[in-house]
Symmetry: C2
Subunit: 111 residues, 2 copies
DNA sequence: AGCACCTATCGACATGGGTCGATGTTTTTC
DNA sequence: GAAAAACATCGACCCATGTCGATAGGTGCT
């Protein structure tokens, strides 16, 4: 179940993945993970952690994480019976560059 | 009021506004506007232009533009009976910085 | 083996939001 | 004043999707 980060999902897919309150909160947690409640000293954030952080049922968490992984924003490594999630900085870098084209658009005024 | 760009809408509101195929296309058009079909030589893009570009009915266009304006991504100036829309570069700059925090997050490289 | 735990999938439900027709408001033009 | 054009608002429809319970698949522990 390797994460196919080589192919570039559409920008809209990534934006739609981010533009959800639950997934946005999940990404923020991935950015600054609190000490794992299910596995102290773990090298990542597992799905069961998100259940606590997000306050949602397990299938719902699984669904949201799948969306993030499919969008290429997050990778999920399976270690034992846990899945550890990590951010994909490149994906956010690409989005950053996309938005930059809009931030600099108004700079050039039609002659 | 027309342009309440002083208050900062939530980041999620802006992301949700962008993460829509129609509005994304509208933003791209605002970035590189083609010559206006309803008013040649106009100093902006009016709503009726979007009807042609997006291929949608007028109420639908009005709805989408309102979402973009409310999100602070676009301003709408009313000139006569037309409303000319422009990008708000600052808003995209803020989003850019938001995403930068994820792009620079601890990137552990697999051995 | 048997059990407990984490995760993925399925099915069903409810909500949100995109879409359009009809209508109203404002402004320009004749 | 009347007509036309651009835009906003309203109401309704319909699809996408977030949510959960039930269930199945996998893994580690005793």
């Amino acid at each position: 179940m390797a994460a196919m980060t080589t192919e570039a999902p559409d920008t809209l897919v990534r934006l739609k993945a981010i533009a959800d309150p639950v997934r946005w909160k999940a990404l923020q947690f991935l950015r600054e993970p609190a000490p794992s409640t299910c596995r102290p000293g773990a090298a990542g954030v597992c799905g069961c952690d998100f259940e606590v952080v997000l306050g949602l049922a397990q299938p719902t968490v699984s669904h949201h994480m799948k969306v993030l992984v499919d969008a290429g924003l997050v990778t999920g490594e399976k270690h034992g019976r846990w899945v550890f999630y990590h951010l994909v900085p490149e994906a956010f870098g690409e989005l950053q560059r996309e938005l930059a084209t809009f931030a600099s658009a108004a700079a050039e005024v039609p002659a």
